[in-house]
């Protein structure tokens, strides 16, 4: 309860600061509008259809890209982790491709897809794929070898071994990967819209900046932050749901 009060006081302090700095003339009002005007503009934007369409495009690019990357990475990770020798053979390639910054693909995306959903998807999928893949590989490596051998000697088929042993062991790691990937995917979705011009929030920000609508730029950035918080919260909720059987989550809920 007290924590909440302190938190609210912090937010109020930020708003007061953002209101006071331009009003007192410390920063030119044209470059930093007071907080009240930013929030007013945001409220005004929230009743327009264009904003919700743009928001929908952003969320679509994010969700679709994340889903594609997630499925590909889980399938690839489980196969690489289980088939003997494959992990060693792919190690150098994975370590080389993983640190390539996904924005390096911006020119390629522009050439192939232009300002459309395809560009967003290319960047989002590339960026989030590695986050999930690495975690899946860790997760598969964490499978208890004794349990694995036991499952084998009891005659479980490879599919049921994956289904009943590997997948539950790897699931906490997979969810960590999903959480990291969700944040990165949102950043890349907005980036693609901002730089390439695919429809969405980022493109709206770019348009507002070009037309000199400074309060709108701020309002959209605030909105992007709020969506980011929503994205994080949603994935955390999903993680708790999916792992509700896991001892770590259960003991946390008990205390």
């Amino acid at each position: 309860m007290r924590r909440l009060l302190y938190g609210l006081a912090g937010l109020a302090g930020l708003l007061a600061l953002l209101e006071a700095v331009p009003r007192l003339g410390l920063v030119d009002e044209r470059f930093l509008p007071p907080a009240s005007r930013i929030l007013g503009t945001l409220a005004g934007q929230l009743v327009t259809a264009e904003l919700w369409l743009a928001l929908g495009e952003t969320v679509l690019g994010w969700a679709l890209g994340l889903a594609i990357a997630f499925c590909l990475a889980v399938a690839a990770g489980v196969v690489i982790g289980i088939v003997p020798g494959l992990r060693a053979a792919t190690h150098s390639t994975v370590e080389f491709l993983r640190p390539i910054p996904s924005v390096a693909l911006v020119p390629l995306a522009t050439l192939l897809y232009g300002p459309s959903l395809g560009s967003t998807l290319l960047l989002v999928v590339y960026a989030s794929f590695w986050q999930v893949l690495i975690q899946v590989l860790y997760g598969v490596a964490a499978v208890d070898p004794v349990a694995y051998d036991t499952a084998r000697s009891y005659g479980l088929s490879s599919w049921s071994r994956v289904r009943h042993l590997v997948w539950p062991t790897a699931l906490p790691y997979v969810m960590t990967g999903l959480r990291l990937a969700a944040a990165v995917a949102f950043i890349l979705a907005v980036t693609a819209e901002l730089v390439i011009g695919s429809p969405g929030l980022g493109a709206e920000i770019q348009v507002a900046q070009n037309s000199g609508a400074v309060p709108t730029v701020y309002a959209l950035i605030v909105l992007a932050g709020l969506v980011g918080i929503g994205v994080n919260a949603a994935v955390r909720l999903l993680e708790r749901r999916v792992l509700s059987w896991h001892p770590a989550v259960r003991s946390e809920a008990g205390t």
Binding site: L8, A9, G10, P99, V103, P107, V190, I221, G225
Partner: protein, 259 residues
């Protein structure tokens, strides 16, 4: 015996280079079908011609310099602010929602805004990198300082360890695994922002050059730029791993002894 050693080395070489060689061969086979995918030989030649020239000093090194400057500034800011926030529960409770909000803003959207405030020159680009890198470092420092071992804290107090010694030997040391985790996240964000800040209203730098090649349909040169960015990302992440091993050697050592 000797043959066995040689055989092992052979297996290692195959493991390291087998798949990459196959991939490049595959690339070579499918190239030529598409205008957008030149064959590897042409990309390699373009790489040599494009990047082993004056461009290294005009575009590549300034970009990396800005990245390192922004990263260093963000580290100082993030750790400097994170330690006091982490040490004071009241301050932490007050600032937590604000910090969570700032972290949730995708850093690239700040580029148009910072262009308004700081122009389009080097200060803006460094500022963009700082504004993106500082949050993971700050929040991880706060988390690391908060989770310091209480027994060790009491021990420090009993032995009269305080002030700068306490900060250096206990607070920063104890939080360093978390701080390094934040620094690792910040590095990949920093590279992204280095490229993006140069794609807006810029006339030099790596990001600008690659987009320029794309606009002029110099496809092989564009691919060589993507390759160069990949190599820079790889080098920085290897360097980071080296530094991390150094800084956290006591931590890994302790973990190994316990296990």
């Amino acid at each position: 015996m000797k043959a066995g050693v040689r055989g092992k080395a052979g297996v290692r070489v195959v493991r390291l280079f087998g798949l990459p060689v196959l991939l490049v061969l595959g690339w070579w086979l499918v190239s030529g079908r598409s205008f957008y995918l030149p064959d590897p030989v042409r990309v390699a030649r373009a790489f040599g011609q494009t990047w082993f020239s004056a461009r290294v000093f005009d575009d590549v090194l300034p970009s990396i310099g800005r990245l390192l400057a922004g990263y260093a500034l963000a580290t100082v800011l993030g750790v400097g602010l994170g330690v006091p926030i982490g040490l004071s529960p009241r301050l932490r409770a007050t600032l937590e929602p604000v910090l969570e909000f700032f972290r949730a803003i995708p850093p690239p959207v700040l580029v148009p805004l910072l262009m308004l405030l700081a122009g389009i020159d080097t200060p803006m680009k460094v500022l963009v990198i700082v504004s993106g890198c500082v949050w993971p470092i700050l929040l991880n420092t706060v988390e690391g300082v908060r989770a310091l071992d209480e027994v060790l804290a009491d021990t420090c107090r009993m032995y009269g360890v305080h002030g700068a010694t306490r900060l250096r030997r206990f607070v920063l040391r104890g939080a360093s695994p978390q701080i390094m985790a934040g620094l690792r996240q910040a590095l990949s964000i920093g590279i992204i922002l280095m490229v993006i800040s140069e794609m807006f209203a810029s006339s030099s730098g790596l990001g600008f050059t690659i987009v320029l090649f794309q606009r002029q349909f110099q496809i092989a040169e564009m691919w060589s730029g993507i390759l160069l960015l990949g190599l820079i990302g790889l080098t920085l992440s290897l360097l980071f791993r080296f530094v991390e091993r150094r800084v956290l050697s006591w931590y890994y050592g302790a973990g190994a002894a316990r296990a």
